[in-house]
C-alpha cells in the first residue's frame, strides 16, 4: 500500500501549477495556470504550436498561388502552350501546398486535442484525489451535486481551453498577422481595407467575453439549483408521495427551471448578436476590398490576380472568424470554470497529518479523551465540552443520550473525521494529531449511523476496507455480522450486486453489511454508532455475542438507545448537551437513580414484570 500512497501523494494538478506563492488571481492567472499545466507535455505543445504556424503559413500561400494562376491566365503575351506549362507548375505547387497544409493541420489538431486530454487527465486525477482528501466538514457544507458539476462540467471547460482557446487564438493571430504583413507588402491601402474588420472584432469579442463569463457563473448556479430540486425529489420520492406533495414539487421544479431557462436564452442572445455582428464586419471588409481593389485594377495599379488573392485571403479567414465566437466562449468558460476548479484544488484541508508523522504505535491500546471540546467548523455552539474518559484494550464503553447530545460527534473525533477544538485525544499516549492519518484510521473503525453501500457485489462491499482479503476472511466477517446464511440463500450469493444506496436490501440487512465490512479492518478501536436500530433484537444479541469473542483485543464503543445493547459495557457514559453527566457501569448507574435509571425504567416499564420472571 505504501507504494501506491507515495505515487499518489501529490495531486498532479498542484505539481503542475507550481509553488503556492505564485498562485494566480483573477482570470489572467487562471488561464496562465491552465497553460502551465498544458506545458507538462512540452513536446506535444511544441508540435501543436509549430504545426499551427506552418499550417497557417501554408494556408496563406494558397491565395498567393491562386493569384499567380489568375495572372498567368491573363498573360496575353504567353503562347497558349507556354502558358499552359506555367499553369501546370502553379497547379502542382498548389496541390503540394494544400496537401502539406492538411498534414500540418492534422498535426495541429491532434496534438492540441492530445494536450487538452492530458490536461483533462491530470485534472481528473487531482480532482478525484482532492475529493477523497477533503474532510467531513467540507463535504457537510458542499452539496454533492455541485461537486459533480465542478468535476465534470467545469473540468471540461478547462480541458478544452488548450485546443479551442490557445491554439485557435494562435491560428487566427498568425493568419491575420502574417497574412496582414504579406498583404501590406503587396498593397497597403487594399490591405488596410481587408483588415478593417479586425479592430471591431477585437472589441466585440472582449466585451462579449466579459458578459458571457458573468452569465455563465449565474447559469451554473441556477442549473445547480435545478438539479438539486430534481435529485432531492427523486431520492425522497416516498416523502413526496406520502404527503401528496407532487404539485408543490412541480412548483419548485418550474421555478428553478424557468429561471435557468431565462438565463440560457439570454446567453443565446448575447452569443448570436456577437457572431452575426462579427461575420457582418468581415463581409463588409470584403466588400470594401472588392470596391477599392476593383478600381485599382481598372486604374491598372494592381493585377486581377492580386485582387483574387486578396479575396481568397478573405475566404480563408471566413471560417476562423465565424469560429471566433467559440474562441471567445472558450476563454470565458475556461477562466470561470478554471477559477472555480482551482479554488477547489487549492483548498487547504484542515485535517491532515504533520509532514513525516510517524505511524501509530500500539502498546496497551489505551484510548484517552482529555478535556475534549468540540465545535463544528463554521458554527459557534460547542457540541462537546470538557469530555474526559479513558478506555483500555478489552473494555467496552457505552454511550447514551438524547438526540443531538453529541454522541456521533464524539466518536467522529477518534478517527479525526473532525479535529477537536479543545483538549486532546490520545491513543497509547500519542496525540492523534501527531500520527499518520492512515495508521490512525487503520486502527479506528466506525460503523456509521447512515449506511452507504457501493454499487458492486456483496463480496466487494464487505471486503471494501481490505480488497486483498481472502474469501475466508470475507466469510468470517459476514459470519460475525450474522449475514453469511442470508447471503448464501441469495441466488447470486456473495456475487449479488447491491444497489446505489443498497436499494434491494432491507434496513437491517444493510446495517449488517456495514458491520461486516468494518470488521474487515480488524480495528483496535471499534465504534458502533447506533448501528443496530433496524436489527431485530435476536440478531443483535447474536452479533453482540460474536463481538464479545474478539473484544479482548480492542476497545469497543457502542452508541445505542436500547439499554440491552449496553449491558455488557464496562462503563456507560450518559451524554447531555455535550457533557458527560453520568458515568459508571450498568449497576452503578442504576443505583445512582439518575438519568440512566430513568431511561431504564421507561424501557422496562415500571409495572412490567421485570427482573424476577425467570
Amino acid at each position: 500500500m505504501t507504494a501506491l500512497s507515495q505515487q499518489n501523494s501529490s495531486p498532479a494538478g498542484d505539481r503542475a501549477a507550481g509553488p503556492r506563492s505564485i498562485r494566480p488571481h483573477g482570470s489572467a492567472g487562471t488561464l496562465l495556470r491552465i497553460t502551465r499545466i498544458a506545458f507538462q507535455k512540452p513536446w506535444w505543445v511544441a508540435i501543436a504550436f509549430a504545426s499551427t504556424l506552418v499550417a497557417a503559413t501554408l494556408q496563406l500561400m494558397i491565395p498567393i498561388i491562386l493569384g499567380t494562376a489568375v495572372d498567368q491566365t491573363q498573360d496575353a503575351l504567353a503562347a497558349v502552350d507556354g502558358g499552359r506549362g506555367a499553369l501546370l507548375k502553379t497547379a502542382a505547387l498548389l496541390f503540394v501546398m494544400a496537401a502539406l497544409r492538411g498534414v500540418f493541420t492534422t498535426l495541429q489538431n491532434y496534438y492540441a486535442e492530445a494536450v487538452g486530454h492530458t490536461v483533462g487527465y491530470q485534472l481528473r486525477r487531482a480532482y478525484y484525489a482532492k475529493v477523497q482528501e477533503l474532510d467531513f466538514s467540507f463535504h457537510d457544507k458542499v452539496h454533492s451535486g455541485d461537486l459533480i458539476t465542478l468535476g465534470m462540467l467545469d473540468l471540461e471547460g478547462v480541458r478544452m481551453f488548450f485546443s479551442t482557446g490557445i491554439v485557435r487564438l494562435l491560428l487566427l493571430s498568425t493568419l491575420i498577422g502574417v497574412g496582414g504583413y504579406i498583404l501590406i507588402g503587396t498593397d497597403p491601402v487594399l490591405a488596410l481595407a481587408a483588415l478593417s474588420f479586425v479592430p471591431f472584432v477585437g472589441w466585440r469579442s472582449s466585451v462579449t467575453r466579459l458578459r458571457l463569463r458573468a452569465t455563465w457563473l449565474r447559469l451554473q448556479e441556477r442549473l445547480s439549483v435545478l438539479s438539486r430540486v430534481m435529485e432531492e425529489n427523486l431520492a425522497g420520492i416516498r416523502v413526496v408521495r406520502a404527503f401528496a406533495a407532487q404539485s408543490l414539487e412541480m412548483e419548485k421544479f418550474r421555478t428553478a427551471s424557468l429561471s435557468a431557462l431565462e438565463l440560457a436564452r439570454e446567453r443565446v442572445g448575447i452569443r448570436v448578436r456577437n457572431t452575426s455582428a462579427m461575420t457582418f464586419s468581415f463581409f463588409a471588409a470584403m466588400g470594401l476590398v472588392l470596391w477599392i481593389g476593383g478600381h485599382k485594377v481598372i486604374a491598372g495599379e494592381i493585377s486581377v490576380g492580386t485582387l483574387a488573392s486578396f479575396l481568397t485571403f478573405m475566404t480563408i479567414l471566413q471560417m476562423p472568424v465565424r469560429q471566433l465566437g467559440m474562441l471567445v466562449n472558450s476563454f470565458a468558460r475556461a477562466s470561470t470554470c478554471g477559477s472555480r476548479l482551482f479554488d477547489f484544488l487549492d483548498f487547504e484541508v484542515p485535517i491532515r497529518e504533520v509532514p513525516g508523522a510517524p505511524a501509530l504505535v500500539l502498546s496497551e491500546g489505551r484510548l484517552r479523551f482529555e478535556d475534549v471540546s468540540f465545535t463544528y467548523p463554521g458554527t459557534e455552539r460547542p457540541v462537546l465540552r470538557d469530555v474526559s474518559f479513558e478506555a483500555r484494550r478489552g473494555e467496552t464503553i457505552g454511550l447514551v443520550g438524547p438526540p443531538g447530545s453529541g454522541k456521533s460527534s464524539l466518536v467522529h473525533l477518534i478517527p479525526r473525521f473532525y479535529d477537536v477544538t479543545g483538549g486532546r485525544i490520545t491513543i497509547d499516549g500519542q496525540d492523534i494529531r501527531d500520527i499518520s492519518l492512515r495508521s490512525l484510521r487503520q486502527a479506528v473503525a466506525v460503523v456509521q449511523q447512515d449506511v452507504f453501500l457501493f454499487t458492486t457485489t456483496l463480496e466487494n462491499n464487505i471486503a471494501y476496507a481490505n480488497p486483498w482479503a481472502r474469501e475466508k476472511q470475507v466469510e468470517r466477517a459476514s459470519e460475525s455480522a450474522r449475514l453469511h446464511d442470508y447471503i448464501l440463500n441469495l441466488p447470486g450469493g456473495y456475487r449479488t450486486v447491491v444497489g446505489e444506496r443498497g436499494v434491494s436490501l432491507s434496513g437491517g440487512q444493510r446495517q449488517r453489511v456495514s458491520i461486516a465490512r468494518t470488521l474487515m479492518l480488524d480495528p483496535s478501536i471499534l465504534v458502533f454508532d447506533d448501528s443496530t436500530t433496524a436489527l431485530d433484537a435476536n440478531t443483535e444479541r447474536s452479533i453482540r455475542k460474536s463481538m464479545r469473542e474478539n473484544a479482548a483485543n480492542r476497545v469497543t464503543v457502542i452508541i445505542a438507545h436500547r439499554l440491552s445493547s449496553l449491558m455488557d459495557a464496562d462503563r456507560i457514559l450518559v451524554l447531555d448537551d455535550g457533557r458527560i453527566v453520568e458515568e459508571g457501569s450498568h449497576a452503578e448507574l442504576l443505583a445512582l437513580c439518575g438519568r440512566y435509571r430513568a431511561l431504564h425504567d421507561l424501557q422496562v416499564g415500571n409495572d412490567a414484570p421485570t427482573g424476577g420472571t425467570r
Partner: protein, 610 residues
C-alpha cells in the same frame, strides 16, 4: 505490502452498465416522432428558422457569383458602373446574410433551449406519477443522467439538425452554381467527390467505434467520480483512498487513450479532404486556366470556382461531425422515450372520489395479499380494522411486512388480493391526492430537503403558520434544539439535513407529519434513533394529538406499544395475534411468551439474565 503493486482482487470503483451507452441508429422514426411532439408547439419558429437557414445559405452561394460578375463585367473590362452595381449588390447580400444569420441562430438557439426545458419538465412530471415499484428499482443517478445528459444531447441534436439542413442545401447550391457557370469544369471538380466517399466507407465504421469507445470511457470515469463524491465518508472511514485513486487512475487513463484514438480517427480525414481540395483546385487552374487562355472561359468564372471549391468541403466535413451527434442523440432520444413511456400503473379512476376532512379516519385491511414480486407475497391474507380515533400498534420482527403494510395504506403499491379501505372507501376508488392528505406518515428513514427548518416542517402545508410549525416542533421535543440553531427556524439545512444528528432529523420528519394535520397518522419506527426519554415525551404529546385521530404505529419499544388501544402481531406476513396488551398477555400466546421471556423482539425489555 508486497501485494500493493497488484490490482486488488476485490475492488472496483464506480458501477457502469455498458448497454445504456450504446449508440443508436442515426434515424429512428419512433423516437423522432416522440421528439417532434415537443418541437411541434414551436413549429412556426422552426419554419422561420429553416427559411432563415435557406436564405443564409443562398447568400453564401451568391457571393462568389457577385464577385465573378464584378470581375468579368466590371474590373476586367473597365466598366466602372458594373463594378459599382456589383458592389452595391454585394452590400445588399451581406445585409441579408447578417439578418438571416441572426434570425437563424437566435431562433434555433432559443427554440432548442425551450424544447429542452419542455422535455425535462414532461419527464420530471411523469416521474411524479410512475409507480413506486419502478422507483424502487431505479437508481436516482440513472434518472438524473436521463434528465440532464440525455436531455442536453437532444438540445445539441436540435441545433445541429437545423444546421444540417443548411449544410445539405449549401452543398447542392455550390454544385448547382458550378454546373451552371460551366458544365465541364463543374463536372471535373465534382469528380473528386467519389474518392472522398470511398475513403469514408472505410473510415466511418472504424471511426464510429472509436468515438463510441471514447464516449463510454468518459461515462465510466464520471460514474466512478460520482461514486467517490457520494461515498466519501465511507471511503475515508475504511481507508480506501489510495486503492480507489489507483483504480480511478486506470479508468482515467483508459479514457485518455480512448480519446486520443478517437482524435486520431477524427483527424485522419483532414489531410485527405485537404488533398482533394488541392486536387480540385489544381484541376481548375490547369483546365480552367487553359480555357481562359484560350478565351473560352471568363477569368471571373475561374475565380468563382476557386472560391466554391474552398467552401465545397465544409458542409461535407460538418455533416460528418453531425453524423455522430445524430447517433448519440438518437440513443438519448430512445432513453428519454423510455422514461416517458414508463407505465403509470397506479392512477386515479375516472370517477375517483376525493376524501374530505370530514371523512372518518378508519383503516381496514380485508384479506390483503401483497408481494413486491407477486410470486413471493410479503403479506398474506391480512385482515384487520382500525376504528376512527383508535391507535393500533403493529409489532413483529424485521422483514415481517410491517413497513409494507404501511405503504399499502397510502397506496404506494396495489394489492394482489383483497382490499385496503381508508375512511370506508377502497383506496383504489379515491384520488391519490386526497388520500395523501388524509394520511400523514413518518417513514422509517427520515428524509429532509435542502431548505430552512421551517420549510421542511411545513413542507406541503404551504399556508401553515409559524405557530403551527412551532407547536409541532414542541410536541416532538425538537423546539429547543431548533431554537438553539444559529437562525432558529430559518436555519438552512444542508444536503439531506446533514448538519443535524440522525435523531434530530427523525424528530423533524415527525414534526412534519404533525403539521400535515391529517385524520390518520402512520408512524413507522419513527423514534428508533431517539432515546427513550425523548420518546416518552413525544408519547405524551401524541396522546393529546391523537385523541380524535387514528393512529397506526410500528414500534419496538414497550412503552409505545402498551399505549396503543390494540396490538397486532405480524410474523412472516401473517397476523398471528391481535388484542390489547392485557388480552394478549392473558391469551398466553406468542406476544405473551415473548414478553414474559423478555424476548428482545420488544428489545427494551431487558435481558434479565444479568
Amino acid at each position: 505490502m508486497a501485494t500493493s503493486h497488484q490490482r486488488p482482487p476485490r475492488a472496483t470503483v464506480g458501477s457502469h452498465r455498458v448497454e445504456e451507452e450504446m449508440f443508436g441508429r442515426v434515424f429512428d422514426g419512433r423516437v423522432v416522432r416522440r421528439i417532434w411532439a415537443f418541437v411541434s408547439p414551436y413549429r412556426l419558429k422552426v419554419a422561420i428558422a429553416v427559411i432563415a437557414v435557406l436564405v443564409f445559405t443562398g447568400t453564401q452561394v451568391v457571393i462568389p457569383l457577385i464577385i465573378r460578375d464584378a470581375i468579368d463585367n466590371g474590373i476586367v473590362t473597365g466598366g466602372e458602373a458594373a463594378l459599382t452595381r456589383a458592389v452595391l449588390l454585394f452590400a445588399l447580400v451581406i445585409l441579408i446574410n447578417f439578418g438571416a444569420s441572426f434570425v437563424q441562430e437566435n431562433v434555433v438557439g432559443q427554440t432548442a433551449e425551450n424544447v429542452l426545458f419542455d422535455i425535462r419538465e414532461a419527464m420530471f412530471s411523469h416521474l411524479q406519477r410512475v409507480s413506486m415499484s419502478f422507483m424502487d428499482k431505479t437508481e436516482v443517478g440513472r434518472l438524473m443522467s436521463r434528465l440532464q445528459g440525455d436531455v442536453n444531447s437532444m438540445q445539441e441534436f436540435l441545433e445541429t439538425s437545423v444546421l444540417s439542413v443548411g449544410d445539405i442545401v449549401l452543398l447542392f447550391g455550390i454544385v448547382a452554381s458550378m454546373l451552371w457557370l460551366d458544365v465541364r469544369l463543374g463536372l471535373l471538380t465534382i469528380s473528386v467527390l467519389p474518392i472522398l466517399f470511398l475513403v469514408r466507407v472505410f473510415w466511418l465504421p472504424r471511426a464510429r467505434k472509436a468515438f463510441m469507445a471514447a464516449h463510454e470511457a468518459n461515462s465510466v470515469a464520471n460514474g466512478a467520480l460520482a461514486e467517490a463524491i457520494h461515498g466519501v465518508r465511507a471511503v475515508q472511514n475504511m481507508n480506501r483512498e489510495d486503492v480507489n485513486l489507483a483504480l480511478y487512475t486506470e479508468k482515467a487513463e483508459t479514457n485518455l487513450q480512448a480519446h486520443l484514438t478517437a482524435a486520431r480517427y477524427a483527424q485522419v480525414m483532414v489531410p485527405i479532404v485537404d488533398t482533394l481540395t488541392g486536387l480540385a483546385m489544381a484541376f481548375v487552374i490547369v483546365v480552367g486556366g487553359s480555357m481562359v487562355l484560350g478565351q473560352t472561359l471568363e477569368v471571373g468564372v475561374m475565380v468563382a470556382f476557386l472560391f466554391y471549391i474552398q467552401r465545397f468541403f465544409d458542409p461535407i466535413r460538418s455533416l460528418t461531425m453531425q453524423y455522430s451527434v445524430m447517433q448519440r442523440a438518437m440513443a438519448s432520444g430512445q432513453r428519454l422515450t423510455e422514461v416517458l413511456d414508463i407505465e403509470v400503473t397506479i392512477r386515479d379512476k375516472e370517477d375517483a372520489f376525493a376524501l374530505t376532512r370530514d371523512t372518518e379516519g378508519s383503516i381496514e385491511f380485508r384479506g390483503v395479499t401483497f408481494g413486491y414480486d407477486p410470486a413471493h407475497p410479503v403479506l398474506k391474507d391480512v385482515t384487520f380494522r382500525v376504528n376512527p380515533g383508535e391507535t393500533v400498534a403493529i409489532v413483529g420482527p424485521t422483514g415481517s411486512g410491517k413497513s409494507s403494510a404501511m405503504a399499502l395504506v397510502n397506496r404506494f403499491y396495489d394489492v394482489q388480493q383483497g382490499q385496503v379501505l381508508v375512511g370506508g372507501h377502497d383506496v383504489r376508488d379515491v384520488t391519490q391526492r386526497s388520500l395523501g392528505r388524509h394520511i400523514a406518515m413518518v417513514l422509517q428513514e427520515p428524509y429532509l430537503f435542502t431548505g430552512t427548518v421551517f420549510e421542511n416542517i411545513r413542507y406541503n402545508v404551504v399556508d401553515a403558520s409559524e405557530e403551527d410549525v412551532v407547536n409541532a416542533a414542541k410536541a416532538v421535543g425538537a423546539h429547543d434544539f431548533i431554537a438553539a440553531l444559529p437562525e432558529g427556524y430559518g436555519t438552512l439545512l444542508g444536503e439531506r439535513g446533514g448538519s443535524l444528528s440522525l435523531g434530530q432529523r427523525q424528530l423533524l420528519s415527525f414534526a412534519r407529519a404533525l403539521v400535515a394535520d391529517a385524520q390518520i397518522l402512520v408512524l413507522d419506527e419513527a423514534t428508533a434513533s431517539v432515546d427513550s426519554y425523548t420518546e416518552m415525551k413525544i408519547q405524551t404529546a401524541l396522546k393529546r394529538l391523537l385523541q380524535d385521530r387514528t393512529g397506526l404505529v410500528i414500534a419496538h419499544r414497550l412503552a409505545t406499544i402498551r399505549n396503543a388501544d390494540r396490538i397486532i402481531v405480524l410474523r412472516d406476513g401473517q397476523i398471528v395475534e391481535q388484542g390489547t396488551h392485557d388480552e394478549l398477555i392473558a391469551q398466553g400466546g406468542l406476544y405473551a411468551g415473548l414478553y414474559r421471556m423478555n424476548h428482545t423482539s420488544f428489545d427494551d425489555a431487558l435481558d434479565t439474565g444479568l
